[in-house]
């Protein structure tokens, strides 16, 4: 029996698309090259008894509408809010973050009385930007160059949303979308440590420095999610990030779809300008009425589709789509909880994100290393110990630590990463943690060190870019991945893309996969109940 839809890649977006299509009655299969599912939302047991979050490590952006539509709670997904966080300072102190509003204000006041009272104003302004952008996430971007009624209506809808804002807010929004996070924070805060902590969300996964224009938008991308309506909050998936793709797979299977692992796609089969299926690396030809790629745009079109089948201009633009890798990852199994000497005994901050970069300046210097083709000698790390909250990932008393690291370039001085480079990168990060938590090294049972090389080889992310393409303004909305092809359709009929290379971009959000499914069902004229984005009231 011929498949209605064949999805390449069992990442979260591919599985979201597949689940929606299966629920709408399509016969669906997902092919995954690895022997495990998950893409970059993956949990593997690399050390006995320890579940890792090997790539993505926290959740906020994953749309609640999707969790509900696909009944992910029923299939085992649970999102746990986390609390606090801290940045350790070079003088042996720390700045903590607290969920309690008053505790947080008092903490800021240890560094600056003014900044303590400025935080509310900052939060209000960021929240206003979130309120504008959140309704856009679960809609197909309009194509401003085509004058179809649907595109015009969508453009008009966005236009009206803008015109509803007061003049000052429109100006503020245009500035915010184009300025650097450093300049943005300077408008609110004076203390370098506070700014250092807050700048983080603007550089994660991005080959920009905090002083690069455009970095402020990336901050918004990390703030526009929510945990149960608490906008901007982040949480853990209970059982690791793989729990998200596990629940999606169960939901898909319950709807009659299937996932085939260890099935790498070699190429998309195209006949007379239409995609008709794929050929796998092991020589099998699988036919389907439509093919949907969860791979990034570059990998899809430059490696798995015959370029002769594509418009020349399109190929050129895809080649130029920016996917510069900027980050690495350490996943560490720990024999016990590390002790950070600066923190008071019992402080809640260990149950959140831990940083060691106490100024924007220092972050920018880390970026300088990336520019010159080296990993940062004094890197920025976003360290999490999810097992402080999640009891299911390790044996009691043991811990799993996830270290997201910037910056790590796709190549070292123009050459491919070597194992020695990777080990040196890992040692740099571990040494940094050891500085703030003496004895840390002796707790390490196992460490997985991942550079852009490993991320590309294993997950398939071109150049190791975690967002399947940078989140810069030139690559967003109707320009993502390239102008004219932002509506999840490839230039080849019946070939679709549904990964983070498409609107609204990266992060474990599921919105690209959901939007792609909506377009596919629309084209197939299959009516299916799919939640609209929850209204922002």
């Amino acid at each position: 029996m011929v498949l209605d839809a064949l999805i390449i890649g069992a990442g979260h977006n591919g599985l979201v698309t597949a689940s929606y299509l299966a629920r709408a009655g399509m016969k669906v299969a997902v092919l995954e090259k690895n022997d495990w599912i998950g893409g970059a939302a993956v949990s593997r047991e690399l050390y006995p008894g320890f579940t890792y979050s090997n790539c993505s490590y926290v959740s906020s952006l994953f749309r609640p509408e999707i969790m509900r539509d696909l009944e992910l709670s029923r299939y085992g997904l649970q999102i746990l809010p986390y609390e606090g966080g801290a940045v350790f300072t070079r003088d042996g102190g720390y700045l903590g973050m607290f969920r309690d509003h008053d505790a947080n204000r008092r903490e800021f006041a240890r560094f600056s009385a003014r900044d303590a009272e400025a935080y509310d104003r900052y939060s209000r302004d960021v929240m206003q930007h979130c309120r504008f952008i959140r309704p856009l996430l679960m809609r197909t971007p309009p194509d401003p160059a085509r004058f179809r009624p649907r595109d015009l209506a969508e453009l008009a809808w966005i236009g009206r949303k803008v015109m509803d804002l007061p003049e000052a807010q429109i100006a503020g929004m245009i500035r915010f979308w184009t300025m650097s996070i450093s300049d943005f924070l300077d408008e609110y805060f004076e203390n370098p440590v506070i700014k250092g902590y807050l700048a983080v969300s603007a550089i994660i996964g991005t080959a920009l420095g905090p002083m690069s224009p455009g970095s402020a938008y990336v901050l918004l991308h990390h703030y526009m999610g929510d945990v149960d309506g608490n906008v901007g909050a982040w949480g853990f998936a209970r059982g690791g990030m793989g729990a998200i793709t596990r629940a999606l797979t169960r939901s898909l299977e319950a709807a009659g779809g299937e996932v085939r692992t260890g099935k790498a796609v070699k190429r998309v089969l195209v006949r007379q300008g239409r995609a008709i299926g794929v050929e796998t690396e092991d020589g099998e030809q699988i036919h389907a009425a439509r093919v949907i790629s969860n791979m990034d745009a570059k990998r899809t079109f430059l490696r798995h589709v015959d370029e002769a089948e594509l418009p020349a201009q399109f190929v050129r633009q895809v080649r130029r789509f920016k996917t510069r890798g900027s980050s690495g990852k350490l996943n560490i199994a720990l024999d016990a909880a590390p002790k950070f000497t600066a923190l008071p005994e019992g402080a809640p901050n260990l149950r959140g994100d831990l940083h060691f970069t106490d100024s924007v300046e220092r972050m920018e210097r880390a970026y300088d290393d990336w520019k010159s083709g080296h990993f940062s000698r004094d890197p920025f790390q976003d360290v999490m110990i999810p097992t402080m909250i999640d009891p299911t990932m390790t044996p009691p008393g043991k811990h799993f630590m996830s270290c997201f690291v910037q910056y790590a370039p796709p190549k070292i001085a123009g050459k491919d990463w070597t194992d020695a480079d990777r080990d040196a990168f890992g040692a740099t990060c571990i040494d940094q943690i050891e500085t703030y938590a003496p004895g840390f090294k002796s707790l390490i049972l196992h460490a997985e060190i991942r550079t852009p090389r490993e991320l590309e080889a294993e997950v398939g992310l071109t150049e190791g870019n975690i967002f399947q393409g940078e989140l810069t303004f030139d690559q967003l909305l109707f320009n993502r991945p390239v102008p004219g092809y932002a509506q999840y359709r490839a230039p080849i009929r019946d070939l679709w893309i549904s990964g983070s290379s498409t609107h609204p971009g990266g992060g474990v959000m599921g919105a690209p996969g959901r939007n792609a499914a909506a377009e596919i069902l629309r084209d197939a004229r299959i009516g299916h109940q799919m939640s609209d984005a929850y209204a922002v009231i």
Binding site: R110, R121, R124, Q128, P166
Partner: protein
């Protein structure tokens, strides 16, 4: 010195009076107020209310946010910051005022104390340090947040002057909105004839180290009149009767509003009488002038007299029972007035003749069922309650 890093263990601060207020708080009823633990009641809101209107009450004011503003240009600075004329505020006097952002929308209201030619204290509900500091650019002025440095009590009720006299401070000649400097245990103590109750009353400003002794002294002095501490629930009742507004309850402070249509100008809150148009430029003046000239105000803050005896908290206001006309922000069956009163934001187009046909929709939960009421409301004068004793100097003995 306590370890400042451990604030997270007690995220709500306790006021210097806490040992006494916690002992008196029979039900352990507390709520967060501006980062402090404040009593909502001490066991009997009705009796606490009665103490304010009948005898004398004590309310712990410490959580109120306080800024000390000083410097040779403090007066000029405050005239630029606030809508009311500070030049006309004499030393030793207090006035109620508001301040606006550059769009002429109200950021907060509060009381300004002139302690000297160049020394002021601004008391308010919300935190504004960045705004106060930004507005200070170009002025020789220092702004400091001093909330924790001052222990404040509000002594309110017809017998409050007698209580103070019994405590050794005869303030019978002190006029409303004036400040007296006295001493307590050889240390200076400040008493102002101010309050949030619309009644005869005073506020006492002390060194936190004297807080407990001051509390005990007042409780002893007021014992003949049945002095008792009151919580925020009783205070809310009397402030509604007095027609006073609370930032965050009756209006959304301009810096906090996420939704652009939620901010209000002084005209829209009935506070335009505070504005001094002659004093020169102040924050928001240009926008307010334009609003005055064009009559573009969209809202009005009104007092309502509502039929029946069911209080109308949060109710929607209708014109002709159908068109939404506004929302009730505070409501109370007034025990003193025997009237069902409310404060409301009303669309300005429903002032005037249309106000004859206003209705309030009340959902009254009674034993797990809503009784839905649509009752007439009449726009009425504020304050609802303003007894002569509030202003009489010297106050009579009651």
């Amino acid at each position: 010195m306590r370890d400042k890093r451990l604030h997270y263990k007690t995220p709500l601060l306790q006021t210097p009076f806490h040992p006494r207020t916690s002992a008196a708080n029979l039900h352990g009823h507390w709520a967060a107020w501006a980062g402090y633990q404040g009593a909502t009641d001490f066991g009997d809101t009705e009796m606490e209310y009665t103490a304010v209107r009948n005898a004398v009450s004590v309310y712990d004011l410490c959580p109120m946010v306080k800024y000390e503003i000083s410097g040779t240009q403090a007066q000029d600075y405050l005239d630029r910051l606030l809508v009311r004329s500070v030049a006309r505020l004499p030393v030793g006097a207090v006035h109620y005022t508001v301040w606006c952002d550059d769009n002429g929308k109200v950021m907060d209201d509060g009381t300004l104390f002139r302690l000297g030619e160049t020394e002021f204290l601004l008391c308010c509900q919300e935190r504004h340090l960045p705004w106060l500091l930004d507005s200070a650019i170009g002025y020789d002025v220092a702004v400091r947040e001093v909330t924790e440095d001052i222990a404040a009590l509000s002594l309110q009720g017809p017998c409050s002057a007698q209580t103070l006299k019994a405590a050794g401070w005869d303030v019978s000649t002190l006029k409303p909105f004036r400040i007296a400097e006295v001493s307590f245990q050889d240390k200076p103590l400040r008493i102002s004839r101010t309050g949030f109750t619309g009644d005869l009353g005073y506020e006492i400003w002390a060194d936190p180290r004297q807080a407990l002794a001051l509390w005990d002294h007042l409780m002893q002095a007021g014992a003949p009149w049945g002095i008792r501490p009151i919580g925020s629930d009783a205070l809310d009742m009397v402030r509604i009767e007095a027609g006073f507004l609370i930032a965050g309850a009756d209006f959304v402070p301009a810096e906090q509003a996420l939704r652009p249509d939620r901010v209000r100008s002084p005209f829209e809150l009935g506070l335009d009488w505070l504005i001094d148009w002659e004093k020169g430029h102040f924050n928001g003046r240009r926008a307010l002038l334009a609003e005055r000239e064009s009559g573009a105000s969209e809202w009005a803050l009104v007092g309502l007299d509502i039929a029946g005896n069911v209080s109308a908290e949060g109710a929607i206001l209708y014109h002709g029972k159908e068109r939404e006309a506004g929302v009730v922000t505070a409501a109370l069956w007034s025990p003193t007035l025997k009237r069902n009163i409310a404060l409301a934001q009303l669309r300005r187009s429903y002032l005037g003749p249309k106000s004859e046909d206003l209705w309030v929709e009340i959902y009254a939960m009674r034993e797990l069922n809503y009784v839905k009421l649509m009752v007439p409301a009449r726009v009425t004068q504020r304050p609802f309650f303003s007894p002569a004793r509030r202003r009489a100097t010297p106050p009579e003995d009651f």
